[in-house]
């Protein structure tokens, strides 16, 4: 399957673009259509279009941002578009400005720009004033996806609902992003070129989240549409704006594969790991081992290690590898048609002093 093609097809099929301010009546049919339209106009006036690096090798050279101060601080996603000294910013009224990157936090995929011209009095978002949402909440997503809007044209708006609130790292290795905080998953297709840095609001026009970059979910092999809650971003944005921010050091990369413990350390010999996802069946339990003490038997299938699902012998080795002496160890196994859980404390390794 050519996923890239499918992705594009999917996007083509589902871009329901409502020109800004024009027809919010389709989501707000009765009482407060006027209110909503006013809210949309107000949001549009504080959004910007960003043009920067890219344009080669199918890399798009545009993205979306929003104003966070009257002096021209702009919040957007950290992406290749910002990989040049100055980027061009088009304000809602069509005025063209240049901006520089004031600061960035790659861990959050976040960047703050500053318009170079001084003495501006621009409409902006008070970032402290944001809302939160639950699955089912109706949302609007504002972005310049596919660069549809030019000059003073308003950005494209998609409507949908919050599908879920989840952590991108709920399972290790599922996503290819550094950000590991909570995100909103949206059922509109916001995952589009140039949409990163756009805004998600509720139907009252309250800020909810910033649209993230294009991203695949490695668990379901699908593209996901996510946005980072303002509650996560605001403190960092404020710090960058005031110059108080010190970028975090890259986390020590100890998660990869420490392999501190192996099944044999607990007296377990697993079945031969012959295929990509060999289930973690126990082949042999050593006499007088921790495993024997816990009552484990050959033929048991280990399903969870400390509540982390292990789908294969490989994942079992990774889970055991992360353990340290003294950790709680809880194993859930399937024996015939029963699940059972056994608990222990990870012992010191025999060869350690």
């Amino acid at each position: 399957m050519n996923w890239v093609f499918v992705h594009l097809l999917r996007k083509t099929l589902c871009c329901i673009i409502i020109a800004g301010g024009m027809s919010l009546s389709c989501v707000s049919t009765v009482a407060n259509a006027d209110d909503s339209q006013a809210a949309v106009r107000s949001i549009q006036s504080r959004m910007v279009k960003i043009f920067g690096a890219g344009g080669l090798r199918n890399l798009y050279s545009y993205s979306t941002g929003f104003l966070a101060s009257p002096d021209g601080h702009i919040v957007t996603v950290w992406s290749h578009v910002l990989d040049q000294d100055r980027v061009t910013v088009i304000l809602a009224n069509g005025r063209k400005e240049t901006a520089v990157v004031l600061g960035a936090e790659p861990q959050l995929d976040l960047a703050v720009l500053k318009i170079e011209r001084e003495g501006l009095q621009l409409p902006y978002f008070d970032l402290e004033n944001h809302a939160s949402a639950a699955p089912g909440t109706r949302v609007l997503a504002f972005s310049n996806m596919f660069k549809v809007a030019t000059g003073d044209e308003p950005l494209s708006i998609l409507h949908g609902v919050i599908a879920a609130k989840t952590k991108l790292t709920a399972r290790r290795g599922a996503y290819e992003v550094p950000y590991d905080g909570p995100v909103y998953i949206i059922d509109a297709i916001t995952n589009n070129p140039g949409a990163g840095g756009g805004l998600v609001t509720n139907t009252q026009g309250e800020l909810l989240a910033m649209i993230g970059k294009e991203l695949r979910n490695n668990e379901s092999n699908t593209w996901i549409n996510y946005a980072m809650p303002m509650s996560e971003l605001t403190p960092v944005i404020k710090q960058i704006m005031t110059g108080d921010y010190v970028s975090q050091e890259t986390k020590p990369d100890g998660e990869d594969n420490p392999l501190r413990y192996q099944p044999l350390d607990f007296g377990l010999l697993m079945i031969a790991d012959v295929v990509f996802r060999t289930p973690a069946f126990i082949e042999v339990v050593d006499a007088n081992s921790l495993a024997e003490e816990l009552g484990l038997k050959p033929g048991d299938l280990i399903l969870f290690v400390n509540d982390n699902l292990v789908q294969s012998c490989r994942e079992l080795r990774q889970e055991f590898g992360r353990l340290e002496a003294g950790d709680d160890l809880s194993l859930t196994i399937r024996r015939d048609d029963k699940l059972m859980t056994v608990d222990a404390i990870v012992p010191r390794k025999v060869n350690e002093n």
Binding site: L13, T29, V30, N32, R138, V161, D187, T203, P279
Partner: protein, 659 residues
């Protein structure tokens, strides 16, 4: 939904304090807000029936699709632990399946059965007092109403949600509800809810044109999503609970017109032993209705059968010889490709005027049914299964009704001895009996030579086509006997007339073969429109000379070979065989046909770049049960076969009428 009901619902949801954050006491809430609350409430009501499914082990890819490892969704359909889900969630054939509830309870699950038509899988866990999902009756599902799709993948506690409308009903041949809510692996197996929180259907990937287990996944999140009506799921639940896999029901017919949108359902082919065959349908009958659904287009039949499973008995009416026949048929899961039984003999080809008193055995294949039963060369077969055998045609018709492994009786005469033997037919052999002697056709008596029938090399013009073909007629052609016909299709750029004539003259003389060589208008390539001319050339030579229609074969090399295969399947009634050198097939062949047999001899040099494609061609022929021989020639490149191979082809051509 009635206005009253909507109002009631809206009042209901606004009373819930958690969901009323935006509701200002002074202003009445907007419809937008009320709807939003209704979406959340619908999910909350259905939530206890939505479970999370985890899998362990299994394949990491199926076809070109990487199987997912993430959690998937299921729906409780009985209080005692039956859970329905999308079959897509189990394509990796996991070693172990787990079901998790929002409160953290976990159960090992057993896969009970799979529905291969609606692409659902039924699981069972050992649990009680579960809350089964409540189904919305079919007549209450209306296009345009809200549809809320839910899964339990992103979070174990709170279902993930997508909102859309019902886009269509009775989709994918009557099987599914269509929605524009986002449907993907994050909610396959979950419910499509109405705004009251009742379940309209179970979300699955589906495709109207394919029914493989991954079909339809390419439409994920596109606004084209499908759900199998839960009402239908409950109807077939008992069958699935029995552990019975359900399969699409097939009847075994093809039609003259394959356009789904128009035309009578004039039956072309009926598969042997298929439901349609057993119901009495044959070629030329017209199908009128299935399952009481009148059929005026082929597309209607897809609807009539789409909702049925193998094993279902459906009423059917069809027109046979202007007579309407009403009966029933039991649909089946798989159809048997046509393959007729094989006795293991070659018949003598008698003089046309000889008395029709049986078939004389010319040759007995070693280790064949005939040899085992003691049938010998020169025996005269006079009866088969108790039916009298008069000539080749009658024996062929009787044998073709039987399948390999069938036990049959054969009566033969040997001198004064008459014996009936029982034997078990085999499938046809692909073995070429290299010890097969030429069958000598005696030259005509001097007074019977027809001066108007030239022999040797001639060129015959086809004025209607502005084309000509050359022909070689054996020197002592005898019109009292039937001859085989080989139609040489030259490759682009070279008619090869001289070398073919030289190579084939001796085979023609010794084995009773007439050779013709139609010529393309532009020698450098055949135009597809020239198929008609070649067909007419064959019909033309058949009117002039006595040709056995069972032994009309095409022979082609390189691009001529591919064109020959094209001709073979375009004019299935005309050609019985094709001997193809260094050329692959270029389009999928049609179904095998019980009434007209077709065999293929493929040869290709081992060094020939086209070899992989020729090998693929042979696999296609085998899959369609066309008897086929494939000879890979060591050390040869892209060249016309050598005399050794041609000798073998000539013998093979001499066995086309084997029985």
């Amino acid at each position: 939904m009635s206005t009253l009901r909507l109002l009631f619902l809206l009042c209901f949801v606004t009373l819930l304090p958690n969901f009323s954050r935006h509701v200002d006491a002074q202003n009445s809430p907007s419809l937008t807000e009320l709807e939003e609350q209704a979406f959340k409430q619908a999910v909350a009501l259905a939530e206890p029936s939505i479970v999370r499914i985890q899998t362990v082990g299994g394949l990491d890819r199926v076809g070109r699709i990487l199987t997912s490892t993430g959690p998937t969704t299921g729906l409780v359909v009985s209080a005692d632990g039956y859970i329905i889900s999308s079959a897509f969630n189990f394509i990796s054939k996991p070693a172990s399946v787990l079901v998790e509830f929002a409160d953290g309870r976990r159960f090992p699950a057993e896969v009970i059965a799979t529905d291969r038509s609606r692409m659902l899988t039924l699981l069972k866990i050992e649990a009680d007092n579960l809350q089964p999902a409540e189904a919305v009756p079919a007549d209450q599902i209306k296009v345009g109403q809200w549809g809320v799709a839910a899964g339990r993948t992103y979070s174990p506690e709170i279902p993930n949600v997508s909102v859309g409308i019902v886009s269509a009903i009775n989709r994918v041949w009557g099987k599914a509800i269509q929605t524009d809510a986002k449907v993907s692996p994050v909610n396959y197996g979950g419910p499509l809810l109405n705004i009251e929180g009742k379940v309209m259907g179970v979300l699955v990937p589906l495709s109207a044109s394919a029914n493989t287990e991954t079909a339809g996944v390419e439409w994920y999140d596109s606004g084209i999503g499908f759900a199998i009506p839960l009402e239908d799921v409950y109807q077939m639940l008992e069958r699935l609970k029995e552990g019975e896999d359900l399969h699409p029901g097939l009847m075994g017919v093809t039609f003259r017109r394959n356009d789904l949108m128009e035309g009578d359902l004039l039956i072309d082919m009926v598969r042997p032993d298929s439901p349609a065959y057993r119901a009495g349908m044959r070629r030329g009958d017209v199908l009128l209705s299935v399952d009481d659904i009148p059929l005026t287009r082929v597309g209607h039949l897809r609807y009539a059968l789409g909702t049925h499973y193998a094993g279902d008995v459906v009423p059917v009416t069809f027109l046979k010889n202007q007579k309407k026949i009403e009966t029933t048929m039991a649909l089946v899961q798989t159809l048997i490709p046509y393959e007729s039984g094989f006795l293991g003999i070659l018949p003598q080809r008698p003089e046309l005027t000889a008395p029709r008193n049986g078939v004389v055995v010319r040759y007995v294949y070693s280790e064949s049914a005939a040899e085992d039963a003691g049938i010998k060369k020169d025996d005269r077969i006079v009866a088969f299964q108790g039916e009298p055998v008069t000539d080749y045609e009658s024996l062929w018709t009787l044998i073709s009704r039987e399948r390999p492994e069938n036990e049959v009786s054969v009566t033969f005469e040997r001198g004064a001895l008459k014996e009936t033997v029982k034997l078990t037919l085999t499938g046809t052999t692909e073995e070429i009996p290299l010890d097969l002697l030429d069958e000598f056709i005696p030259p005509p008596a001097a007074d019977e030579v027809d001066e108007d029938l030239p022999t040797g090399f001639t060129t015959i013009p086809m004025e209607a086509h502005n084309h000509e073909y050359w022909t070689y007629i054996p020197a002592d052609y005898n019109p009292a006997y039937q001859y085989g016909l080989v139609v040489w299709i030259h490759p682009g750029g070279d008619t090869m007339e001289a070398s073919i004539a030289q190579d084939w003259q001796r085979f023609c003389d010794r084995r009773g073969i007439i050779l013709i060589g139609p010529k393309a208008a532009k020698i450098n390539s055949w135009n597809l429109n020239e198929a008609e001319f070649i067909k007419d050339a064959v019909l033309d030579i058949q009117t002039r000379y006595n040709i056995d229609t069972q032994r009309v074969a095409l022979h082609g090399y390189a691009s001529g070979g591919s064109f020959a295969l094209h001709l073979a399947f375009k004019y299935r009634d005309l050609f019985r065989a094709a001997a193809i050198a260094a050329a692959p097939i270029t389009a999928a062949p049609p179904e095998n046909d019980p009434e007209t047999r077709f065999q293929v001899y493929l040869t290709c040099g081992e060094e020939d770049a086209v070899l992989p494609k020729v090998e693929a061609t042979q696999k296609i022929m085998e899959a369609r049960k066309f008897p086929s021989v494939f000879k890979k020639v060591e050390g040869r490149g892209h060249t016309y076969p050598t005399s050794t191979t041609l000798e073998e082809i000539a013998i093979w051509l001499d066995t086309l009428d084997r029985l």
